[in-house]
């Protein structure tokens, strides 16, 4: 009997697709659930999934989506427009991470089902990325959920460890162990059918490996068939050299950023920011430390996304220039003499390396940087107010949905101040106006222009330091076939995979 596929990527804390939205949760979303739309391919294409088509009213407020026929949930019951309405209302009522994209524009009562195959959304303001955000929402089976409801929690406690989906795989609840083990079995009646994959995998066991070093070793030994998609660049060569394993390298949409708190001196001074921007050793970091397995990204949006200005020149690593800017800033009274704190996520080695390298170079322009190890919840917990937000911090902005709104829109519009994405506290009325307009316009080419405009302004102000766009690196055993990557979900869709003998 063939050894099941062992998936070594991280599992989300909860299986409830409406409760979290992070990179690991996409694995659940893509395999156990279906959404109305789905991103596939690279560059990502938004393709109708449970939806057949959509229409939008002239004013951009009313969206109607027609559902595909003959979709069944895992329990065999057919999916109707009411189920979709239930799912959206549940999402909005729970008001957790994946709802964030919708709550500003959509009220629960404004989702309705005029007929069994049509779902109608009436937005409170026009919202261009509406469709782009659709894949975030998993359609759940209300019948299963209401049966398992407790204290009118919409089945939240139950769903955290069970599933109510229609996706290509169903889970085995009995053997599920949170963050440790998830066993999946193929759902042969999936609406897409299995015609495009003659040898689909019947059994998939997800076994996350916590430690990076263990993860790589486990792959090399064949204990797992896939690592996460952030293999340390130093390990790539080794995994490729091994006869049993390979590395899938795919350009993604995930921007590595060093944030600066623009409200805190010295970063309220543009020269100070520019000084920092020129003091980061981009080629050293990208080419030597990361071995060229990343792509220099000059602005907040990933290079491979639309809406970037033509021929944008990235900041160069130029200490002379940096010194010049620093001198100017000092002359203007910016307190560059104080020790500047940079918060890193200590479990993510790359943030630490970048900070250490930066620290060494900044010393040469007379700036002292102090590295503060921290964690994601600690940092995001502190970004609610400018006073508590760190001077600097390091992180990535991943592709949650494919629209500039996901990057520049939510990062540099001052209406998002208080969220971690907008934690540089950048404020520019011109940019705010451009972004607001781009958010509501339904004309793609106009939006592209507006975003390009905004990007130019932002880059000129240098509120943050954008370093690179990620190439996802996933270690795979060679028996894994049919791996297809899309920036949303990082190639975690199992439907297309098969196992060589």
């Amino acid at each position: 009997q063939q050894r099941p596929l062992v998936w070594g990527d991280t599992l989300p804390a909860t299986l409830d697709p409406h409760a979290v939205f992070d990179v690991p949760s996409q694995f659940i979303l893509l395999n156990i659930y279906d959404g109305l739309y789905r991103y596939q391919g690279n560059p990502p294409q938004l393709i109708p999934w449970l939806a057949e088509r959509h229409s939008v009213s002239e004013d951009g407020l009313t969206w109607e989506i027609t559902l595909r026929d003959g979709v069944n949930f895992h329990d065999g019951s057919p999916m109707t427009a009411e189920d979709v309405v239930y799912s959206f209302r549940r999402l909005l009522a729970m008001n957790r991470a994946p709802a964030a994209a919708f709550t500003p524009v959509l009220k629960a009562e404004n989702v309705s089902a005029p007929d069994a195959r049509t779902v109608r959304f009436v937005l409170s303001t026009p919202y261009a990325p509406f469709l782009a955000a659709m894949p975030l929402v998993a359609i759940v089976n209300p019948r299963v959920l209401t049966a398992n409801e407790k204290d009118s929690d919409r089945g939240a406690e139950w769903l955290a460890a069970n599933s109510a989906g229609s996706g290509a795989y169903r889970m085995d609840s009995a053997t599920y162990r949170p963050r440790t083990a998830l066993d999946l079995v193929r759902f042969p009646e999936h609406f897409r059918g299995w015609a495009d994959n003659p040898k689909p995998i019947d059994q998939v066991r997800s076994r996350p490996v916590m430690e990076t070093s263990t993860r790589v070793l486990a792959l090399l030994r064949g204990e797992i068939d896939a690592t996460d998609s952030y293999l340390p660049t130093d390990q790539v060569e080794r995994v490729e050299r091994n006869a049993r394993t390979r590395v899938a390298k795919d350009e993604s949409m995930r921007v590595f950023i060093l944030r600066m708190n623009n409200r805190k001196p010295p970063f309220d001074n543009k020269d100070a920011r520019l000084c920092f921007a020129h003091a980061f050793n981009y080629p050293g970091f990208n080419e030597i430390i990361l071995k060229g397995l990343v792509i220099r990204n000059p602005g907040p949006n990933p290079n491979n996304l639309w809406g970037n200005p033509e021929g944008m020149a990235p900041y160069s690593f130029d200490l002379a220039k940096a010194r010049e800017h620093c001198d100017k800033a000092r002359a203007a009274g910016a307190p560059l003499g104080r020790e500047i704190e940079i918060h890193v996520q200590s479990e993510l080695e790359q943030t630490v390396q970048a900070a250490q390298m930066f620290q060494a170079d900044l010393r040469r322009v007379g700036v002292s940087l102090k590295i503060v190890p921290s964690t994601w919840p600690n940092i995001t917990g502190s970004t609610g107010r400018p006073e508590t937000t760190p001077d600097m911090w390091v992180h990535w902005v991943s592709a949650y949905f494919i629209d500039p709104e996901n990057w520049i829109g939510q990062m540099y519009d001052s209406r998002f101040h208080g969220t971690w994405k907008a934690s540089s506290w950048y404020q520019n009325q011109q940019v705010d106006a451009l972004l607001a307009k781009a958010r509501t316009s339904l004309d793609q080419s106009e939006r592209a222009r507006l975003y390009a405009e905004a990007t130019k302004l932002v880059v000129a102000d240098s509120p943050d330091i954008w370093v690179y766009n990620t190439v996802n690196l996933r270690g795979l055993t060679r028996r894994v076939q049919g791996y297809s990557f899309s920036p949303v979900g990082s190639g975690g869709e199992l439907r297309t995979l098969s196992l060589a003998d």
Partner: protein
């Protein structure tokens, strides 16, 4: 002095003493001993992950820094951490133990119950939680370690005080009218000193190790400090290719902790009344 002679007669304890003294000397003169003393902060990307060679006897790390220099520079923080944590823990634990051991009744009971509470918390988890509580970093780690280690002193001193409180010489002192502080400070404390000393040396070993684990888990020393535990943690990503990267800091931890523990072991034997007794 006789104690020292006793200690040196025991080869294992002598080895411990030698290791500790060596570490202290290295710590004192670290910047002069390290071939590249500035390597605590430099990064030399073109030399990253070089295996040991004449130029870099222990090889270089992921930022191209000389590991030998960093191991030498790291000695200082290891010794400082060990000493200050143990001192801080002593400052809390010894008075608590003395007082609780001397007094009867609810004050003493309460103190010992509080000690039990701290003993029941897994040290590492408390340290991790504290690391989150305050800004993570070496100071936090040190505070956390001191907070988790004092109960051991309290227990040791408590037991010693209880034993000594019943000793005839303490009774005799009370008989000639000595005050409680006098008895505690001038008589009980010195008599408990060997036990405290043994506890302290073992505690130093323990502290270095736990600080290293904290560094490893990312709540200890902050980069770019040449902390040994941190170095092993950073090295994980480069294994098994760059075997030298975790090995030398790991060995440094091993040797210093070994030194402290051997010394403590030897002291235990020397402080043992059985060996001291006899006319």
């Amino acid at each position: 002095m006789t104690a020292l002679r006793h200690l040196l007669r025991d080869p294992v304890a002598a080895l411990g003493l030698a290791l500790v003294l060596f570490a202290i000397v290295v710590a004192l003169f670290a910047p002069w001993l390290a071939p590249y003393p500035e390597d605590a902060f430099e990064s030399r990307l073109l030399q990253r992950l070089k295996p040991p060679s004449a130029e870099f006897p222990f090889g270089t790390d992921n930022l191209g820094r000389d590991i030998l220099s960093r191991v030498i520079l790291g000695t200082r923080s290891a010794v400082v951490v060990a000493v200050s944590v143990v001192l801080a823990a002593m400052l809390i634990g010894v008075p608590v133990g003395l007082w609780a051991g001397w007094r009867e009744g609810w004050v003493s009971e309460t103190l010992m119950r509080v000690t039990d509470v701290f003993l029941a918390v897994p040290q590492l988890i408390l340290a991790l939680a504290l690391g989150q509580l305050m800004a993570p970093g070496l100071t936090t780690a040190m505070v956390a370690l001191a907070l988790t280690y004092w109960p051991f002193f309290a227990r040791t001193v408590h037991a010693e005080t209880r034993r000594l409180r019943g000793a005839l010489f303490v009774d005799a002192l009370a008989g000639i009218g000595a005050s409680t502080p006098r008895i505690l400070l001038l008589h009980v404390l010195p008599n408990a000193a060997p036990a405290i000393l043994v506890r302290a040396t073992i505690g130093m070993g323990f502290t270095i190790l736990t600080a290293a684990i904290l560094g490893f888990l990312g709540v200890g020393a902050a980069p770019p400090s040449p902390d040994w535990g941190l170095a092993v943690a950073e090295a994980r990503q480069h294994l098994p290719e760059a075997w030298w990267f975790p090995t030398f800091p790991g060995l440094a931890i091993l040797l210093l902790v070994l030194g402290f523990n051997l010394l403590g072991d030897g002291l235990r034997d020397v402080a043992d009344p059985r060996l001291r007794r006899g006319r």
